[in-house]
């Protein structure tokens, strides 16, 4: 009894420490690294009948979750810190994924069903004679990675530049991001696009010469994912804690005031948007080899909006909250869809409603409330209070 109590208090202490920007985040990094290394070791070193053995399925699942966590973090950076609610981040994720998918497709070589050394199966099936120009160079890993970063980055830049320069904000911006991903989904569903139509890219064999089905490759992918997540997390934390980060929060809270003080707010927004899109693209690149497929479904608006709920559950404006939220919700999704598939949309919908109405600052806010006020309020919660007291700028604009 007392042992259990001790466990809960220590867990609680751990969680309360998590909300402190410095130490809590380090804790999260530590936990992530240790967990994945332990899982990897358990998968590779232990025999399959050992009670501590971690199956390859679990490894892959964990890798997938971490990719989602990275995507959620990307959304959190611009939504939580800059107030831009992007309902289209799935587009950057999917574009990154398609970049990696094209590379993996080219690695299949003549092992496809039709055995064509140059053309992927779906092109043979559609009677294409040669690779379209945008597939050239995709058999080189470095080039594919470059493109998988450049394309979403460029898209984010152009879109952000157009949108922020003309001061599209609030709900309008959200709808436009959603329309963007919707348009891309329609485009990628077309067979003529040269990306496999509604089947997408699949049937991958190996990456950089390693068999994708092998346990070792799976573990390596998980470790790389963890490492990149940690790097993205640390760099994002560095950004939001720097002076730059404070300007960004100022833009979120009252953009007009920041502009009057002389900040070119649209530039901050554009570059943060591009940065966030790049992280999403990296997440997509890591996601594809682990899941083994990329198709236009990833562009569907529902997927992008789901990411927002992960962030909202974890607590926006706290980078670790996005990660924790993504892991929790996805774990719940895996379990729930296995037990009762029909209930998942009910649960997700209820989660949307409950979190927005009752938990506006997510689990992180919940911790805050239980932890008392002694550590001072974080910027996000303060902004939340402020915005609920008075009608926000967005509201007035929408009212217009």
């Amino acid at each position: 009894m007392s042992a259990a109590r001790k466990f809960w208090t220590s867990l609680f202490n751990l969680l309360t420490e998590l909300r402190q920007p410095g130490r809590g985040s380090s804790w999260l990094v530590g936990i992530l690294l240790i967990t994945t290394i332990a899982m990897s070791a358990a998968n590779l070193l232990l025999p399959a009948d050992s009670p501590l053995y971690v199956s390859t399925y679990t490894i892959t699942l964990m890798g997938k979750y971490l990719c989602f966590a990275m995507l959620a973090m990307a959304v959190d950076i611009i939504w939580g810190y800059c107030g831009i609610l992007s309902l289209g981040h799935g587009a950057f994720f999917a574009l990154g994924g398609y970049g990696m998918g094209m590379y993996l497709m080219r690695q299949i070589g003549d092992r496809g069903v039709y055995g064509n050394p140059d053309l992927p199966d779906f092109m043979v099936f559609l009677n294409w004679q040669e690779l379209p120009w945008y597939w050239f160079g995709m058999d080189q890993f470095w080039f594919a990675v470059l493109m998988a970063l450049a394309v979403p980055g460029l898209l984010a830049f152009v879109f952000g530049w157009l949108a922020f320069r003309s001061r599209v904000t609030g709900v309008y911006l959200s709808i436009m991001t959603q329309a963007l991903t919707y348009a891309l989904m329609l485009a990628f569903f077309r067979n003529e696009m040269g990306f496999g139509g509604n089947n997408g890219l699949t049937d991958f064999k190996d990456i950089l010469g390693f068999d994708l089905q092998a346990d070792g490759t799976r573990v390596a992918l998980l470790l790389v994912t963890t490492l990149l997540l940690v790097i993205a997390f640390l760099s994002s934390r560095a950004i939001v804690q720097s002076r730059l980060g404070r300007v960004i929060v100022a833009v979120r809270d009252t953009e007009a005031r920041a502009r009057f003080l002389g900040y070119r707010t649209e530039r901050y927004k554009v570059w943060l948007f591009v940065y966030s899109a790049l992280i999403a693209a990296v997440a997509g690149m890591l996601y594809v080899p682990q899941v083994g497929i990329i198709n236009p479904g990833e562009f569907s608006p529902l997927n992008s909006i789901e990411v927002v709920v992960w962030v909202a559950v974890g607590g926006r404006g706290t980078l670790y909250g996005a990660i924790v939220g993504a892991l929790l919700v996805n774990y719940a999704k895996t379990r729930l869809t296995a037990i009762m598939p029909d209930a998942w949309l009910f649960a997700l919908g209820a989660l949307f409603v409950i979190v927005t109405v009752y938990l506006p600052s997510g689990l992180a806010g919940l911790l805050q409330r239980f932890g008392g006020q002694q550590n001072g309020k974080s910027a996000s919660v303060e902004a939340e209070r402020e915005s609920s007291n008075k009608p926000s700028i967005g509201m007035r604009e929408v009212n217009a």
Partner: protein, 540 residues
């Protein structure tokens, strides 16, 4: 087209058979001998038998010819009795009296023999039926018959046409017959003046045979008369010009039809968005609820499908409207002034509603019946027709739009709604019950979405994903037109619809959709507040 008309006639006639012919029990006595010949004649002789049958039997022989044309005419080997034979679901051959339609029971394969028809005979039968139509049919059937005859201008047919022209007085029919005469003159006459006059008559006509004949004249190398050729070319150009014109008219109509759907879908959103600043992501599901209400109403009144839509419109308004009020009271009220949060919360609600419909009805599409008065089309000329369902929906959308404008301009609710949308706090201070107005506004917007669902159920499949496919489009309409501006929604809806349909032939439907979306994204850069932004103090 001709096929369609013919099969339409056929259906109509089958109906006639089952009603009128039910009284007379068997074949008319005068033709009994000829009918017997039909069973004994060789394939070559059948043609002349059919001719005689037409002369003696006339209109009463129609079911026989139709059965024969369909290849369903058989006779009994022993008794020699003619019968129509259909296969039922089990594959049994069921005999049916050709004339009375009386059931003759299951026939064994050995007992019956088919009366064979070849292509030549089929052509003859079609001509015969067309002649019957000309003599005895309704105006529409006569018209169809003349059109069919235009394809095959034999001397016999022409004589028939002239006979009809002498008796009949219908102006349009006479014109068509004149057209047929002109075509014959162009073909057979050697007089240049007559031929050019014939071309003059033909020019501007959109019937297919006319165009084909003119093209033959233009391309015919043996045609030596240059003046005739030039006249034919000119007439052909004129026809092509008219066809292009009516083709774009048809596209315009389809565009307006799509626009009316977008208007219906967007207008409810415009209200809630404009007045409350609330993005209702569940708006698409309100449309879906309206469509499902139509389905349920039709299930409840299967014997009065004709009136089901009239019941469904108010019912859908009530269902979607009350769900909307519930959403407002339950969720949106708690999120005052946080538009992004309402967006998320209502998205959650949309997921719940979709899954609820999926669990209650099934994930499959539901069949909603189109009442007879809404099906069919108005044929303005051979290349341009207006389908009734789309036409009614266009009218309906305009009616909804006008009544909504009336509500907002004339009623006290409208006054309050406008006051709240302009300055919520001031309205509150003046004693407007803003909370009640919010609930009513949301109910109104959702109710109109439900009504839109009734209209949509007549155009697309009714399924759980119905709403999703319209939500982004309706947002675009609202954003394009300018938020809170009903006129903007009207213009936005129609212009997006028309733009979409005019792009479609060049690019394909999906690409047209994408291009319109991208243009909109660019448009919003230039005019973030839409086509008709609100001006004055309220605006910023």
């Amino acid at each position: 087209m001709k096929q369609l008309l013919l099969s339409g006639c056929l259906l109509f006639c089958l109906l006639l058979v089952s009603t009128t012919w039910a009284q007379s029990e068997s074949a008319p006595a005068a033709v009994d001998g000829l009918l017997q010949q039909l069973t004994e004649a060789s394939l070559r002789e059948v043609g002349s038998v059919v001719e005689q049958l037409e002369r003696t039997g006339g209109e009463s022989m129609r079911p026989l010819f139709e059965t024969m044309l369909a290849g369903d005419l058989y006779y009994h080997r022993q008794t020699g009795a003619l019968m129509a034979v259909d296969k039922n679901a089990e594959g049994d051959r069921i005999g049916r009296d050709v004339f009375s339609g009386a059931d003759l029971g299951v026939q064994s394969r050995r007992d019956i023999k088919k009366i064979r028809v070849n292509n030549r005979l089929r052509g003859q039968l079609r001509d015969t039926l067309a002649r019957l139509d000309l003599r005895h049919g309704s105006t529409a059937e006569q018209r169809a018959a003349v059109l069919a005859i235009l394809d095959e201008l034999t001397e016999q047919n022409m004589r028939l046409l002239q006979r009809v022209a002498d008796t009949d007085v219908n102006g349009e029919l006479r014109e068509l017959i004149g057209l047929a005469e002109a075509m014959v003159q162009l073909r057979d006459s050697s007089d240049r003046v007559v031929r050019i006059a014939a071309i003059e008559t033909m020019s501007g006509r959109l019937e297919n045979p006319v165009r084909n004949q003119l093209r033959r004249v233009v391309n015919d190398e043996r045609e030596s008369d240059a003046a005739v050729k030039a006249a034919a070319q000119k007439a052909l150009d004129r026809i092509d010009g008219r066809m292009a014109f009516f083709g774009s008219m048809e596209q315009l109509f389809f565009g307006l039809s799509l626009g009316s759907v977008l208007l219906l879908a967007g207008i409810g959103l415009a209200i809630t968005f404009g007045v409350m600043g609330v993005i209702n992501m569940a708006h698409g599901e309100m449309i879906m609820l309206g469509a499902y209400t139509t389905y349920v109403i039709q299930q409840l009144m299967p014997n009065a499908i004709e009136y089901s839509l009239l019941v469904a419109v108010p019912a859908a308004f009530l269902v979607s409207g009350s769900v909307g009020v519930a959403i407002e009271r339950g969720v949106i009220r708690h999120l005052q002034g946080r538009p992004l949060e309402t967006l998320l919360a209502t998205f959650g609600i949309s997921l719940i509603l979709q899954q609820a419909v999926r669990s209650i009805f099934s994930p499959l599409n539901m069949q909603v019946v189109t009442p007879a008065w809404m099906s069919g089309s108005l044929q303005i000329n051979p290349v341009f027709s207006i389908t009734f369902n789309r036409f009614y929906i266009l009218l309906f959308a305009l009616a909804v739009f006008i009544s909504l404008v009336m509500i907002l301009k004339k009623s006290s609710l409208g006054l309050n709604v406008r006051a709240v949308s302009q300055n919520r706090n001031m309205a509150k201070a003046m004693g407007v019950r803003t909370e009640l107005v919010d609930a009513m506004t949301f109910g109104l917007g959702s109710g109109i979405a439900g009504v839109a669902g009734v209209a949509l159920s007549q155009l697309t499949n009714v399924g759980p994903n119905l709403g999703q496919s319209y939500i982004i489009d309706s947002f675009m309409v609202v954003v394009f037109g300018g938020v809170g501006n009903l006129l903007g929604t009207l213009v936005g809806g129609f212009s997006l619809g028309v733009a979409n349909k005019f792009l479609e032939p060049a690019t394909g439907a999906v690409l047209a959709n994408i291009i319109v979306l991208l243009c909109l994204i660019l448009f919003i850069q230039k005019r973030p507040k839409g086509l008709f932004p609100q001006r004055g103090r309220a605006a910023e």
